[in-house]
């Protein structure tokens, strides 16, 4: 409808709508975060001062950090900073949040991207294989393994992998602790092998099962029968006729899992003491370092929103009805 009234390409209209909604969402989330963090029990000043927390010292720190001002004005001040790209300074060590954040984010993205580069092709491929061998042994094996992977919590998988590849059959001789310097380099792939493997196992199953279900759903369609009656073999049918029509649901689950790779990485980073966003976030929560907690929260939310938006865009681009209107 919108296309008729505005005369714009419907795809462009849809994209602009999505971007607008994403922006509003980020603002809304930032407010919820601010209020939520405010409601957390505990107090930075008391925590920071520890034994020496006299009432005067606490009041001094609160005044210094501007905590005596009303909530709304503090939020607006912080929001203004965020919108201009300044997340302020850490309360704990006075360092610029931006600087730390980007270093940590780069590390996390390095880990997540490495995991995604393996997880996405493997899971989509395995999904197609499972369809090809539907109700035969390979399908059952893939299904049981993926069910097992889904059923185990990620910290458990992490410890299993440490147990297997660090204790039973040690691979390489990497340092037990990963240095907190920037890691973005191919030479460091060995360093992140175990956490990346954990992440792959965690997200693989969901993506693979969704791929399988989406393609199986399409396999019921009349045009699959048409393809069969043209004498095409099963793998060609899956690749040329089923998969292209199953793209939308697959893109959606892939995007959700990519977001999870960035956001859900917290537990895995803690297990492997990996210097990424998750560690940074957890450390900040421990000492109630609010600017850092909020910055991490907004970045996590942003990753989720952007990836979901990309999924929507992908689904639109995969839909011939939208790409080639009558």
């Amino acid at each position: 409808m919108a296309s008729r009234t505005s005369g714009m390409n419907p795809v462009v209209t849809l994209l602009l709508q999505r971007i607008g909604i994403g922006f509003v969402l980020i603002i809304a989330i930032s407010f919820l975060l601010f209020v939520g963090v405010e409601m957390l029990p505990g107090d930075f000043a008391r925590n920071f001062l520890g034994q020496s927390a006299t009432p005067e010292a606490v009041a001094n720190i609160r005044k210094e950090l501007g905590l005596d001002e009303p909530l709304l004005s503090r939020y607006l001040g912080w929001l203004g900073g965020m919108l201009t790209g300044d997340f302020g300074h850490s309360w704990a060590n006075k360092a610029s949040v931006n600087e730390q954040l980007f270093k940590r984010l780069a590390n996390t993205l390095f880990l997540a991207t490495t995991a995604a580069l393996f997880a996405v092709p493997i899971s989509v491929g395995l999904g197609m294989v499972a369809v090809f061998f539907r109700n035969k042994l390979p399908d059952h094996v893939i299904n049981i393994l993926s069910l097992a992977a889904i059923s185990m919590p990620e910290f458990f998988i992490g410890y299993l992998i440490i147990f297997a590849f660090a204790l039973l059959w040690p691979i390489g001789d990497g340092p037990p602790i990963i240095p907190s310097s920037p890691l973005l380099s191919l030479a460091n792939v060995q360093l992140i092998f175990l956490p990346a493997l954990t992440l792959v196992v965690v997200v693989l199953a969901a993506m693979m099962r969704m791929t399988r279900a989406a393609i199986l759903n399409i396999m019921e369609s009349a045009y699959i029968e048409t393809a069969e009656l043209k004498g095409l073999n099963m793998m060609t049918i899956i690749r040329k006729h089923a998969a292209p029509n199953a793209i939308s649901p697959i893109i959606n689950v892939v995007a959700l899992n990519l977001a999870y790779l960035v956001v859900g990485v917290i537990v895995v980073e803690v297990i492997f003491a990996y210097p990424g966003m998750g560690q940074y976030f957890v450390d900040a929560v421990k000492v109630r370092d609010m600017p850092v907690v909020q910055a991490c929260g907004v970045v996590f939310a942003g990753v989720y929103i952007v990836l979901n938006m990309l999924a929507d865009v992908g689904a639109i681009l995969a839909n011939p009805r939208l790409m080639h209107p009558k």
Binding site: E225, E228, L232, R321
Partner: protein, 543 residues
Amino acid sequence: MGILLQVRDLTIGATVYPPGEDPHDIEIVKDISFDLEKGRVIGLIGESGAGKSTIGLAALAYGRGGVRITGGEVLLDGKDILRYTKAGIRDIRGRHVCYVAQSAAAGFNPAMRLAEQVVEATVLHGVMGRAEALERARYLFGVLGLPDPDEFGTRYPHQVSGGQLQRAMTAMALCSRPDLIVFDEPTTALDVTTQIDVLAAIKHAIEETDTAAIYITHDLAVIAQISDDIMVLRHGDAVEYGTVQQIIEAPREDYTRQLISIRAEIRPEAPDQSDSLLRLENIDAEYGPAAKVLFDVSMHLPRGQTLAVVGESGSGKSTAARVITGLLPPTQGQVIFDGAPLPPALKDRTKDQLRELQMIYQMADTAMNPRQTVAEIIGRPLTFYFGLRGEERRHRVTELLDQIEMGDPFADRYPAELSGGEKQRVCIARALAAKPRLIICDEPTSALDPLVAEGVLKLLMDLQAETQVSYLFITHDIATVRAIADSVAVMYLGKVVRFGPKSKVLNPPFDDYTDLLLKSVPEMELGWLEQALASRKMAAAGN
């Protein structure tokens, strides 16, 4: 002429899983044998469940769902394709034997351009190179009368009409120059005015390319136009097998005679059509400002009579029903019921106004809750409108079941345990339960087999004589209109082009559209297609 296809004692089985019983095997096709020479067409005709599609697909060594070919031979050029390996069968499909499905709209991959799909099998089997195949596709698009053949193939399936898709699918089947094409009800889903074009295109293409064909349909009038031989099937058995002339002009079996004589009975129209129960006055309606659907629609329905609203898909006949029921308030005009205007929107109508106006739908299947028994389905309006409960309600349900000629034993069955005709009868009983004065019937028989549909129509007419209920009967089937209507409204592109007593509307002088519509309805006589096309051409030349 050499024999191309020999089907010998073909037997096909399937495992069924009836509710409450152990799964067991049944035979859905029994000992079918026929021969097909090169360049000839055999028609398979029968009701749903007769096994005609199953036989057609067996020519491609294919069984739909859990269907298994359990016995017999399918000899193509003397070799039994049922004994081929999987690779051998794939080599036949799409190269020597091609298939045209009933619903081309569902049969095309929505994410792929038409030309790609049309040439896919031809190129895959190495019949010709890609460029040559695309050239042939363009040629076939032209032969089949598709608009702009050079450009047509670059479109996606959703960008062309249903009739065009059906022709594109025929082009896809013809592309590899196969020896045999199986047409599985290729025109059933089309409007009559489109059907005649597709039928002519298919016939022309078959003659042009000298391909043999198996043509499957439930419409004897259609098959009479296109085939050389006919096999009449019922419950998987061959009832009668002969040349088209013999079957149409001198059928030997009762069942064939029944199929041919369907709708021979025509009810005369009511002489007095002045006392109107329902009146539409200058109705305009739209789905949003960009989608106007009805333009100045007026018609009226006399008490105790039947008004047939006839038109093709998209003509606005179902929208008119939505306006009457209040689901779509009109932007202009009003609906007068029994002398007083009805509130335009459903939510403003009283319970009694709702009661007096009931509906029967095309898909009886989806119009019933599958988890309710027949007694619950029919009992619901009894409780809602009349507050009947318990013994009283059960008694009335039995009465209604007797009225629809089914009887009390059906009361505790679930919809899944009923046949198509029985389901529609239950829907009729549910409508009757409200004691309505008007029932809107939206294509109630078009999903049913001819003989079953005949029974449902007869029931509707008997009920009308008994209860004086009026019907607004929406249909695209002219034969049904002739059989049951008192008055007729012909709709086209949202307008009423013709309205009046049946005798006036269905007899000359005609307007252009009604003329085209009536001339497009296949008639059960040999050579009808050629005559109809010729008279159309003359009309076009005269304009």
